[in-house]
Amino acid sequence: MNMLNPIFARLNKMPRAALITIGLFVALGTFAPWLAPQDPSTQSLLDAGLGPSAAHWLGTDHLGRDTFSRLIIAANTSLVSVGSVLGVAMTIGILLGTIAGYHRGWVDDLLMRVVDVGLSIPSLIISLAVIGIVGPGYWTMVLALALAWWPMSGRISRAVAVSIMSKPHIEALRVLGASPWRIYFGHLLPGTIGAVMVYATADAGTAALAVATLSFLGLGIQPPTPEWGQMLVDALPYLESDPRQVLLPGLALTAAVIGFNTLGESIALNRIPKPLTRRMLAIRRAEVASWGKENSDA
């Protein structure tokens, strides 16, 4: 219990609404197979397009599949794909970033120019190009998005690694005669991972949106696997007769994206007082904006 206290203390400083949303998303995503009341893929055309009832809490879609179950399973799909995208992207980014930050010199120049190129092309375009070449599919999508995502984490890791490398405690290790391996794996890598993981939260929302976008376009997750973006596009022809089927996955996606963004922002701005209100966030933003102004005056 004592070990958990610092974690609770830290969580308490985050915006509660976003924390609850993301907590719910992660919990639903993790335990989805056990939570979903019905098989999300079972069709029943007799029940198609029904409203909420005891059997189907949020109604059914045009093929008679239970919307509630599909939403929950979609959370799982989203969580897994976002997790894998960020996992792969972070791994590549942190590795290359720390190598650049450790070596500096021409290695740094070379890797950062690659990152520059990556950052200058919109991530969706890179993903579309990769999917266009390899063909649509779940893992293609994860790979394509990771490929589009790693430059950002590479850039951040490099900055963090450079700042760690210039600290006297690394110099002290050099003086002690520590091998490069010890400095890299024992001190640089753990320090960088800790700092960069924080940024992953801020990125998760954008990644979730990108997954949904690709699936919406039919380039990502393929039917019948439920996914929010794909549920949206499925229900689109029935927008006028049954808008609920479009609104529900849309709302779920919006909540997840805004939740991740707010959480990421609160981590970045470190410690927004709870509970998060619009006024507080506005004050905080104004304060942060004024930092830049002070600098430009000086």
């Binding site: 405690h169 110099e171 002290a172 003086v175 002690l176 520590a178 091998s179 010890r182 320090g191």
Partner: protein, 338 residues
């Protein structure tokens, strides 16, 4: 001193690329110093004169542009890779800022244990014993062993840093203002501990400081550095009693006296002017732009080092006169304040 020096620095130069294109910052210029086993040698000078850079170059944190560093007669510049790391380990560095020289993620025990591992102590029992011994030596209770370094005070952290340096059995310790970041009350404690350890272990020590009183108390010999060069060198007593370079005279005169009666009648100018840029150092003697004794000749050539008495040298044309007391850099300007 008939012994061989444990550390010998020969014509060491450290240059950094300047922001001005094609120019270099001459941070350390043709510095030669020697350290004999078991002695404390002071290195004093103004901020920015290159004393820290000299220390950092000796331990290899900065790359020397030319010159040699000999440790026990072994030329370190001829070595590389693991051999260099193993040899250079006998040279240790104590950083000025104890807050950033330890990894916040480590506990005290881990920090010292890591140094022992690096030094090649294999057996965990042996490392455990040494860690206890080292903590005891620097006067820390063994209870701090499991504390994170971030939980400690500045004085405790500096003790841990010293213990970590000692873990690898150094022959030479380079201390870069090891106590100037500490509270005044803690300073004396850490300094005394340091002096006691130095004496007990017989480690040679290059003590970089701008606190002249501290150096006088601790060091047997002193090097005075100005703008990347050694301008005067002598035993503590000689140098403090008969400073023979205008810069040393002014540096010593600018240190405040504790006794207000002496302080009132203290003569001499406080240091005038700014240190010139090491990117474009003055021609000839580097101190001439601020020297009250400077004559035209000073701009022409670097004044050679003059031996004034055994072990006392100063790089000034007038060193002999200054040493005899026939001249001083201080009389020219009486203190105007009442």
């Amino acid at each position: 001193m008939t012994q061989a020096p444990v550390l010998k620095v020969e014509d060491l130069q450290t240059r950094f690329k300047s922001v001005q294109r094609g120019k270099f910052v001459h941070a350390v210029d043709d510095v030669s110093i020697e350290l004999y086993p078991g002695e404390i040698v002071g290195l004093v000078g103004e901020s920015g004169c290159g004393k820290s850079t000299l220390g950092r170059t000796i331990v290899g944190l900065e790359k020397a542009s030319s010159g040699r560093v000999l440790l026990d007669g072994v030329d370190l510049s001829a070595l590389s890779g693991a051999a260099l790391r193993d040899s250079r380990r006998a040279l240790q560095y104590v950083f000025q800022d104890p807050y950033s020289s330890l990894n916040d993620r480590q506990t005290v025990g881990e920090a010292i244990d890591e140094a022992l591992v690096i030094a090649g102590t294999r057996s965990p029992e042996e490392r455990d014993r040494r860690t206890k011994e080292l903590l005891d030596q620097v006067g820390l209770a063994s209870a701090v062993r499991d504390r994170h370094t971030r939980e400690l005070s500045g004085g405790q952290r500096q003790r841990v840093a010293i213990a970590r340096s000692l873990a690898v059995n150094p022959r030479v310790l380079i201390c870069d203002e090891p106590v100037s970041a500490l509270d005044l009350s803690i300073r004396a404690q850490v300094m005394n501990l340091f002096l006691r350890l130095q004496k007990d272990l017989g480690v040679a020590c290059l003590f970089i400081a701008h606190d002249l009183a501290l150096v006088r108390q601790a060091a047997s010999r002193v090097y005075v550095m100005y703008l990347g060069r050694i301008v005067e060198h002598g035993s503590s007593k000689e140098l403090y009693d008969r400073p023979s370079h205008p810069y040393s005279q002014m540096l010593l005169a600018s240190a405040p006296e504790v006794d207000p009666r002496i302080e009132k009648h203290r003569r001499g100018p406080l240091m005038i002017g700014e240190v010139p840029s090491p990117t474009n150092p003055p021609s000839g003697c580097r101190f001439r732009t601020r020297c009250p004794l400077a004559v035209d000749d000073c701009a022409k050539a670097l004044p050679p080092s003059r031996v004034l008495s055994p072990g006392h040298t100063a790089a000034c044309t007038f060193a002999a006169d200054l040493h005899r007391g026939n001249r001083t850099a201080l009389v020219q300007q009486e203190m105007s304040a009442p």
